[in-house]
Amino acid sequence: METSGPIYSTIVDSSYKPLRAIFKLILLLAFPIILVFAGVIFVQKYYAKNLLSKSASQDVLVIIPMQETNWQDLGNVFEPIVPVKVKTNDGFQENKFLLDSGAVISSLPRDWAEKTGQNLAFLQRTTFRGFGNTQSFAYQGNMVILLGDDEMTLPVVFTETAGTKSLLGRKGFFENHSIFFDHKKRQIEIRK
């Protein structure tokens, strides 16, 4: 027996409905727009800041708390003094250096020449101009220092005057490092 009449199957509404089409168009465009806005806000507020601070922190070789000296007339004044390990014949020995961007080259008292295995007699002799344009002879050598985990060789002059402060100067040090004086955290950062 043959059946006649309509065959019932899944009904697909293929007819065009403008409102539904507009809704789908809005859905298609709204999602990217919202995402882009969200991305912009995220990048501006968090990502860029974190990325920059992360890269900066990766470059930090050493962080040193600021030291202060109490002067009779001036009160407490910050001293840019950093303890740095210097390679000697008996291993690394800590020495306090004054960060001095006014000094052309780093300097150490003369007794450090022998400690670092250098003979003054065979180092190049130069004139050293100190504070108040006082002049003396200085002997140009090298020192190996440890900043964080980084070992580096810096040019240095061994100066005549005993008891003077050791200096970290421009040649080899300031020209290759960034020094950040963070007054808020009361610390000095030496960066690559």
Binding site: K17, R20, A21, A30, G39, A48, L52, A121, R125, F137
Partner: protein, 238 residues
């Protein structure tokens, strides 16, 4: 209208998928652009430093009325490339017409660190002779000469030491004579020739300076050749 029809034919799942892909395509370049913009903002704060050329020497000055006179060359011992201070008077302040000769070599301007009326600072030039002298000429004045100075290098073995004013020779085998000039800072008041016979490498006392300033010391072998020696600068005060 045809675009809307096509969009309408797409299922909701497809619409969401396309939307996600579109979001990625649009947001990626924008995010990269923003990150780069941040870097640009930082670099804008940086000012390119201006190149400043500084002149260390004073401008050429006049010729002094009196003739130049070298007192001493300090220190009297050194290596090629070391600086020496030529102390004396009437050198002028960087005079326009001048000549400085160290160990037979006329110094070019760049090897003269400073030239003041009472002191010239200069580098011992390559080619300077062992036992040579320093000569200074200013304008048409006669040339002034110093006492001889001693040169050494990294191969030098003979060493002079000074403890409590007594000068001794270390590793001085072969040294047969020492010539010593002492006096005040500008004038040699005493010239001594001390015969020596050193056959050992130990420390051999040579001379007591009585703590007077040394102006020069030259060592000789038995053939009269000048021998190189070095000193510990700290012991001799330079």
């Amino acid at each position: 209208m045809s675009i809307l029809k096509k969009i309408d034919k797409l299922s909701l799942v497809k619409i969401i998928a396309f939307s996600a892909i579109l979001s990625l395509l649009v947001s990626l370049p924008i995010v990269i652009l923003l990150v780069q913009q941040q870097t640009e903002i930082r670099s804008k704060a940086y000012e390119k430093p201006k190149l400043i050329v500084t002149k260390d020497k004073t401008l050429p000055g006049p010729i002094p009325n009196e003739s130049p006179k070298i007192g001493r060359v300090f220190p009297w011992v050194g290596k090629i490339g070391d600086i020496v201070w030529i102390q004396g008077e009437n050198f002028g302040n960087n005079p326009a017409v001048k000549r400085l000769i160290i160990g037979g070599v006329t110094l070019p301007e760049e090897m003269i660190a400073s030239w003041r009326d009472t002191e010239i600072q200069a580098v011992i030039p390559p080619g300077a002779k062992q036992g040579g002298i320093v000569q200074v000429r200013v304008g048409q004045h006669p040339m002034s000469s110093s006492l001889p100075f001693s040169l050494y290098d990294r191969e030098t073995k003979i060493k002079l030491t000074m403890k409590e004013g007594i000068i001794s020779v270390v590793n001085g085998k072969g040294v047969s004579k020492a010539k010593i000039w002492i006096g005040d800072e500008n004038t040699p008041t005493k010239e001594l020739e001390i015969p020596l016979e050193i056959n050992i490498d130990d420390e051999t006392p040579v001379f007591n300076t009585d703590n007077k300033p040394i102006l020069s010391i030259i060592l000789y072998d038995n053939l009269g050749n000048i021998l190189s020696y070095y000193v510990d600068p700290t012991e001799f005060g330079f």
